[in-house]
Amino acid sequence: MDFAMQPDSEEMQVFRREAQEWFAEAMKDGAHLKFSANWSTRENEEEYEFRRNLARKVGAKGWMFPVYPREYGGGGLTVEHQMVLENEIGKYGLTLEHIFYTLARLAVPCIFTWGTEEQKQAFLPPLMTGEVGCWQLLTEPQGGSDVANAQTTAIKDGDVYVVNGQKTMVGSIHYPDFFWTLVNTNPQGARHENLSWIYIPGDLPGISRSPLNLLMGRKNTVFFDNVRVPEFYLVGGENNGWKVGNTHLELEHSGGGSLGEDGLVKHLIQYCEETESNGAPLLEDPDVRDLLADVLIGSHISALWGRRNWWHRYAHRPHGYGGTQARYYSRMRRLVVAERLQQILGYHTLIPNFDVPEAIDFEHAARQGPGTLHGGGTLDTDRLIMGRRMGLGRPTAEQAPITTPGSSEA
């Protein structure tokens, strides 16, 4: 086995230097920004503009989707290039997948896998190059876990689909260009055989939204009132949405993996080194050390599983239960970390520190504990999915789909 995340061939060393220089230039004007996290409570206009433009620049180079073909807006590069790029942008506290709030990381693989050639040519380049942003719309008020029970309808009328219904707990602050939406195209049809995915332009008449103020920041309810969407925008075939959703959910459920580092833990250690209590740094306190050991180990396990999933994804050997396992574990762990923070820092955990990026701020972590347990599915549905993928109580284990193009050498 080889766990090295830094490909070091001659070619990659050259590419790394190129990427380093490029990012140094591109990030220059944002040096003073302390980036906000996903679904932020603190994102401001200046930060948004900076990140929105950065995505366009990264996208224009094909670097948002390095291993996808150039003709669709990807980089036409190898998995090794992708590792280098993830590493370099990671140094600025960002990821390729989340330069600004867009869920292209989910919509792109679905459209790439399931769309017709015309749809791919029309939809993918703007998404992959960061020209447009998109939200994912699955959850409905009657219950997000039962995804197959979507009641937002899209009924064929000539050459359009007429969409009616509402989606909730979706999106972020800035209104998107598109909604990647799960709809019911046959209300009388059998369960799992009546769903479709439709890529809805945000500017069509009949769409409205109302904001939701959540622990983790801004989400929305989006209403569709007789919205007429041209049939061209239905992706993957009418009533074939459950299958298309397999690609979507595999990635939503962390099957994509990650190569990121845990900046929060580093920050915590640093804090404990610098902060004295009872006349000695917190880091000298035996009880604090025991608590920190558990935090470090949990963080390490999360990171390793992220790396494992990343490798399985790009080697085209999807790991059956690995995605949901990583997601479930990291969520349970965030709750533990939130508690450890209070045990170590006490009240200080409850006050935000705007001088550091939000992702490594302790108050954010404490909110994240309960606040992000359920994005894209709950702990319970994670365990259900793991059960299916391991084949518990079933003759065989359910397989995971391949979600990503690219070389099979990761």
Binding site: M1, F3, I297, H300, I301, W305, Q325, G387, L392, G393
Partner: protein
Amino acid sequence: MDLALTEDQAMLKRTVADFMKREAPPTNITGWLQGGVGYVPELFQTAADLGWLGMLVPEAYGGAGLGLSDCAVIFEELGRGPLPGPYFSSGVLGAAVIAEGGSDEQKQRWLPAICQGEEIATLAINDRGYSWGPGSVEMTATDRPEGLTLNGTKMFVHDAAAATVLICAVRHGDGISLALVDMNQPGVSVTPYKGLASPSLGEVRLDEVHVPRSAILGEPGQGWAALERALIQAIPILCAYQVGGCQEVLDFTVEYTRSRVVFGQPIGRFQRVQDHVVDLVNHLDSARWITNETIWKLDTGNEAISSVHEAKAVASDGYYHACNYAHMVFAGPGTDYSHPLVAHMIQSRSLYQYLGNPLYHKRMMMDYLFPRALRS
């Protein structure tokens, strides 16, 4: 990055798995457990003949001189048994201590014989099993012109009854010496433990036992440093054995969720039962991936000391809890001594302590990463 086994490793894995299926199927394992058998000499000899005891030993001393990652493949499969016997204690740990601490003459004398299975070397560090640092070595050697005289008891020695030689840590002058004690000489006696202890654990009593000067490993009083170096290499292999145990427990538990029907449905359809398996597999994969990465670090010369401590903490914890979660799924039948789960549970408890328990290793990890200021 490449997280798959190499082709050679995949083949080796199949070979060992076949061996286990043939020679040590679950019925044998549970039979040995119930008979108090901690070691089956014929199997041990077969393993030696196959070259599995000297994987890490340099070729010059009769070993294979391979990396940890190959060795780990073997021990993961043995752990699936869990196959009892001094495979690890002698073939990996004992050999590593002698390789790290011994003079060239001592290495020539002992290592080829250990690789061949002719000598079985097991290690006794602490006297009473409460802790594993240098302070836990209590037995004090009496220095005589012709060598050392040892008196006292080393508790909880793994594979004590099988061993032909005990690598015994003793206080000697200002330091710690490693004395090679011939287990067949007068004054040495071994008493196996009863109860939940693994049948291979024994108490070694030394009564006026004489050790010639030539049987002090390396420089007198300098044993501890050699021991530390050996432990860093050997512990990840023990972790791999524990990972194998977790994997086997998972596999037969998953199978049981399919075959056991209660309330008219396979129990794996109950969400509560699924929860136990999810917890089980999370422990397995925690242990597996930290162990894998640690081994990669050691094989590639990356700094790995804190990872080794972390791996032992997580793998010991993982095996222990994997068995607990399996017990939740198996309910009554899982508590029968003829059930393989009992063999794993018992093994997991003793390995939890072996070379230091999770709490000890987590503290070692922290002390290594963040050395504490010395304050009075």
